[in-house]
Subunit: 351 residues, 2 copies
């Protein structure tokens, strides 16, 4: 690999995924430089407590350590201080923004949306696993990126570390997608599996909460908002239809009868919250609801840590992909995948 | 989509896959031009009977019709005549070669290898589902393409229409692949399923032959040569290790006991010819052999028409992909996928 390309990165949001990205940057630097000629330099970071900026580079491992201890970006010795993410993105000299703030499907998808808009406007590439801005402003943001000649990537929004968007938007080109089915949410699968094992709804929810799988507001997962958001992104990006959350017929898992979950398992099947798009004339019908996945179905082997997607096509057959994700590292690694794809483009690996 | 890009194509080999590519070109032209700004013009074709060349374009549908009736490229009215594929590629003005001659793992992988070499040398992109040249000359051909600044794509070589190479070489970048398992061959799965249904070896082979699934020389499939060739391509292109056929520990399915196939099925599993790479120090151990795929394994739902691959990685979890391919159209469509990827590059779909 000949020349090394320096990429000056900003990271906004240093929570579950942002912290893991810092660990990946720390661990993978030599590999990225040797194999792809990429030197990823984290020049700035922001969380809800403050910002840090250092043109020569922050130490991503030290930042992750501080966050692990409950601290803030502000506490980074010598470089941390007061400020907001938006101020950082407005002032910093950088090539690329990783936006990893918590998902917010209402209130204008802030703080992510403003930060992404600002970065694109300033000519930075943007990589984000944050569904909110993409769901609420897909057309605006992709158009803005196109006008500024930069890339907006969000592979991590749909099914954790599974390249569901790349597969659909890139590998099926030339074909027509008749429909798709996705199991894009882990928490609901976990809860349904607990019900199948004989737990009551109360016990299953308590267990999920204990293990940190369930958010303080469980509605996001249980009522299918998360799955619907992912379906909206698939619809816009892969199926090319301008859908919003309101276009999804949505039914969560709260009404599911534990006895029925057990009977499905006894039949050899699997109950999952399924996001589905079915061709209807020129458009697609979009649904999210609990569905029985029968034995033999390409997603029937999904375990508790599994997510997946099936594409039904005219000329590429039926193509399915699944991921088993034992912790959120693959979801964070999608940012790395996106960055490498932006700078290295084509599919050929390093020699 | 603004400007239309004209791509002058040559097709060498108009058999099972080449003919289907002609049908796809005929059917998909308006779609390709509208969505991707690509006008694919077939300016030349060659089969074992002769060649045809017309700078203004041949009619791919008419060519497929002639081949369906048992004719040759030579019979194309007004433009067909005597000549060899190599002569065509030497003289034609074209941007891209689709090489789809029959697989030949010995005798220098001819006629494909010479034709591909010539096309790359003349500055044409090359797209091929033909394993032979890639297995025997991966380094030479990829290096030649690099030097000439053209693309060599062979997505169709590994598991029919499944983008197994794209997935491995592009979507796992930044990660380390600990190992992979593939079920890349359809015929052996079909025969093993016939044995599971109670047929004897003789009956199963006769059935496969009747249905045209088995070649005149069945060794290619039954002795694992086809699976080994695919594993060699995966090893070179995805795992980055310079392996050849001789590096694969290969055991075909001929020694399989039908009783054992039935017992595997009774246990809820699946017997398949599995191509496997396992990390050993800096390299990989490569094996092809019949293996039991247990229930719950990501490939356990493969049906008779199914192929698949699993990648075990450090940061992207366990990622699997499968395809159900009811006829060879998806295998032929890989050439379309490759062409679109060459000219449209990035993953974003047309608006």
């Amino acid at each position: 690999m000949a020349d090394t390309r320096v990429v000056r990165m900003l990271l906004v949001g240093v929570g579950n995924l942002g912290r893991r990205l810092c660990r990946l940057l720390a661990a993978k630097s030599p590999h990225l430089e040797a194999d792809y000629g990429l030197r990823l330099v984290l020049v700035g970071a922001a969380d809800s407590g403050g910002i840090a900026y250092a043109p020569g580079g922050l130490d991503p491992g030290a930042l992750a350590d501080i966050k692990d201890r409950g601290g803030s970006v502000r506490d980074l010795p010598g470089v941390g201080g007061e400020g907001t993410a938006l101020e950082l993105v407005r002032r910093a000299e950088a090539d690329l923004l990783c936006e990893a703030t918590p998902v917010n499907l209402s209130a204008g998808a802030e703080p992510g949306l403003s930060v992404i808009r600002e970065a694109l406007s300033r000519g930075m590439h943007v990589v984000t696993p944050n569904k909110g801005p993409i769901v609420l402003a897909y057309r605006e943001l992709t158009e803005l990126a196109r006008k500024r000649g930069v890339e907006l990537r969000f592979d991590g929004t749909v099914a954790g570390g599974l390249p569901a968007l790349y597969l659909g938007a890139r590998d099926l080109r030339g074909g027509t997608i008749h429909g798709l089915e996705a199991v894009p949410n882990l928490v609901t699968g976990y809860i349904l599996d607990l019900l199948a094992e004989g737990l009551s709804w109360e016990e299953a929810l308590a267990r999920a909460r204990e293990e940190g799988a369930l958010e303080a507001d469980p509605s996001f997962d249980l009522d299918g908002w998360d799955a619907a958001a992912k379906l909206v992104i698939l619809a816009n990006h892969v199926l090319g239809c301008a859908a919003g959350l309101g276009d999804v017929e949505r039914e969560g898992i709260r009404g599911v009868d534990p006895g029925e979950v057990r009977r499905v398992r006894e039949r050899g099947g699997l109950l999952r919250l399924v996001a589905r798009a079915e061709r209807r004339g020129e458009g697609y019908r979009l649904t999210v609801r609990p569905e029985e996945i029968p034995p033999g179905h390409p997603l029937a082997t999904l375990g508790t840590k599994g997510m997946g997607i099936v594409y039904y096509t005219d000329i590429y057959g039926v193509i399915a992909a699944t991921i088993r994700e034992d912790d959120p590292t693959p979801s964070a690694a999608t940012m790395l995948r996106d960055i490498i794809d932006i700078y290295c483009g084509r599919g050929a690996p390093a020699p």
